[in-house]
């Protein structure tokens, strides 16, 4: 018969998608019934399809909430302490490759008394950057509008800090004393390494770029983890709890630490967002198209005025800067920069 004319994969796809016509549907059924091989092929494609459906369903299930539900029934309701938390993180990392030495952590009594921790918080206002050294010798650079809290004395088990905003870390190497950066609902687990973590609360992504060494990015419920190697970036989406890895040139991501503002084919809305923090000003994009312009430039120690001038020279943009007006309590309002599309003339 002349059945070879039709594309069987197309028929199967349209059956799976539910868009198949009744003629095609009959054709497909005949093809499937023809041979055992055909039957198997068809059922394998269905299973393949199913795999993606399962994946999608799984993404929607919240194991954290479920665990809370059963744990309140099983255990005395209590807050999960930092120790139990880190233990959990440590445990998930062990799942793929079990290392006997770390099992040691498990065997210890979980109800060990925890020492009260005293925390320091380092904070940089908008428009400023700073650097500091942690109790273990780890160096941290904090970008504008960022906050880092860390205990005055790290616990003997791990070094845990929490970050809001962007920071660059040079962690002192100590394999037995893991370093943990907690931000939003994500963690970066480190033994000794250099990396940049961008976790401003208003962004939907947390981006970790590894310069040297090795880190593992883990979500809060410790169900998803990804290892990073140098020149890789992990983008963690806070809402979907997904981690995507990509190859990057770290230079752009860490330039800020040496006072450079670097843009490499970045969209204007990202450029504007960085400039806002860098110069502590507010931008208003007046013409929507501007947001999608792609921009490449490096600024070193330039004033806002110069940056804006360069921006308007190299992109079809013009700008206006508002005067700072005095507010009632003798403070000044933020400067507002308005961006317009340049008219064609």
């Amino acid at each position: 018969m002349e059945k070879e004319i039709f594309d069987i994969d197309q028929l199967i796809a349209s059956r799976l998608l539910g868009t198949i016509t009744s003629d095609d549907s009959q054709l497909l059924d005949i093809w499937v019934a023809e041979k055992v091989e055909n039957q198997r092929y068809f059922s394998e494609q269905k299973r393949l399809w199913n795999l993606f459906e399962m994946h999608q369903k799984m993404q929607k299930i919240d194991e954290r909430k479920a665990y809370q539900k059963i744990s309140t029934q099983l255990f005395n309701p209590k807050k999960i302490g930092l120790f139990a938390y880190v233990q959990r993180i440590a445990a998930i990392l062990l799942l793929p490759v079990m290392i006997v030495s770390v099992i040691y952590i498990f065997s210890e009594k979980t109800d060990r008394k925890q020492h009260a921790m005293v925390y320091n918080t380092a904070e940089t206002p908008l428009g400023m950057r700073s650097s500091l050294t942690l109790p273990d010798g780890t160096k941290v650079w904090l970008n504008a509008g960022s906050k880092l809290s860390y205990p005055i004395n790290f616990s003997s088990k791990f070094r845990a800090v929490s970050l809001e905003g962007e920071a660059y870390f040079e962690v002192v190497k100590d394999k037995k004393w893991p370093f943990l950066v907690h931000s939003g609902n994500m963690n970066v687990l480190v033994s000794g390494t250099t990396f940049n973590c961008n976790a401003y609360p208003e962004n939907s992504l947390i981006e970790t770029v590894l310069v040297e060494g090795q880190v593992t990015v883990v979500n809060e419920s410790a169900t998803i983890s990804k290892e990073l190697f140098p020149n890789e970036m992990a983008s963690f989406s806070k809402r979907e709890q997904r981690i995507t890895k990509s190859k990057v040139n770290p230079e752009k991501y860490i330039a800020w630490k040496s006072g450079k503002l670097m843009f490499r084919e970045d969209k204007m809305n990202l450029v504007v967002e960085k400039l806002e923090r860098w110069y502590n000003v507010e931008f208003e994009i007046k013409d929507k198209e501007i947001a999608d312009y792609v921009y490449t430039a490096t600024f070193i120690d330039e004033s806002l005025d110069q940056v804006l001038k360069m921006l308007s020279l190299s992109a079809p943009i013009r700008y206006s800067v508002s005067e700072r007006s005095k507010l009632g309590d003798q403070t000044f309002e933020k400067q507002i920069v308005k961006l317009y599309k340049k008219s064609k003339i």
Binding site: M54, L95, V97
Partner: protein
């Protein structure tokens, strides 16, 4: 596969910790298997809320009887428990509802033994979808992950519906080659 090879050692250690009432390890095992088991149960029960209840009750039972458990592999232990409870549930439903003699589709028998964990499945799928040609990948994502209808995709990308279908069938053809080992591999391992 790497996970399966090391599974035996891993499970033994984890079971030991649970026997010693280590809540942290219990939670870890819960987080690792929970969503996969719910989806597994859901294939039998066709009701996510009940499936969640069933899986939760399996874990509660595990904790309550932890001192006497004898588990060699979490995977087969959980599958067995969840499957039994699902069947119990279906039976009780049939008793309640005599006229509803819904028999699970035969497809489910094929899917029966596939238990994936979120981490495993995400890794696997991400890698294989990443290998699709860009256009094909975009259309596949839109269809499978953004739940767009064929007509909507065609509309957005200004192409014909037929082209959308062709791209998806192309994607499936490529993904099949990438994933076929896993499809049959699992079926072999867990049918026992």
């Amino acid at each position: 596969m790497r996970i399966n090879e090391t599974k035996a050692i891993t499970d033994q250690r984890l079971v030991e910790s649970i026997k010693n009432s280590n809540e942290g390890v219990f939670e870890l095992v819960f987080n690792f298997y929970y969503s996969g088991l719910v989806v597994y149960a859901d294939q039998i029960i066709k009701n996510t809320t009940i499936s969640e209840d069933i899986v939760q009750s399996v874990f509660m039972k595990l904790w309550e009887t932890r001192e006497t458990i004898d588990i060699r592999s979490f995977r087969s232990y959980f599958i067995q428990c969840v499957k039994n409870r699902c069947i119990d549930h279906l039976r009780s439903q049939q008793v309640k509802n005599k006229f509803d003699n819904r028999v699970p589709e035969s497809d489910f028998l094929v899917m029966d033994e596939d238990l994936w964990t979120k981490t495993e499945l995400s890794d696997l799928i991400e890698q294989s979808v990443e290998s699709l040609p860009p256009r094909c990948r975009e259309i596949f994502r839109m269809s499978r992950y953004e739940n767009l209808k064929i007509a909507e995709i065609a509309d957005q990308l200004k192409i014909s519906k037929r082209t959308v279908e062709t791209q998806i069938s192309k994607a499936l053809k490529i993904l099949r080659v990438k994933l076929i080992d896993y499809l049959s591999f699992l079926a072999l391992i867990f049918i026992s």
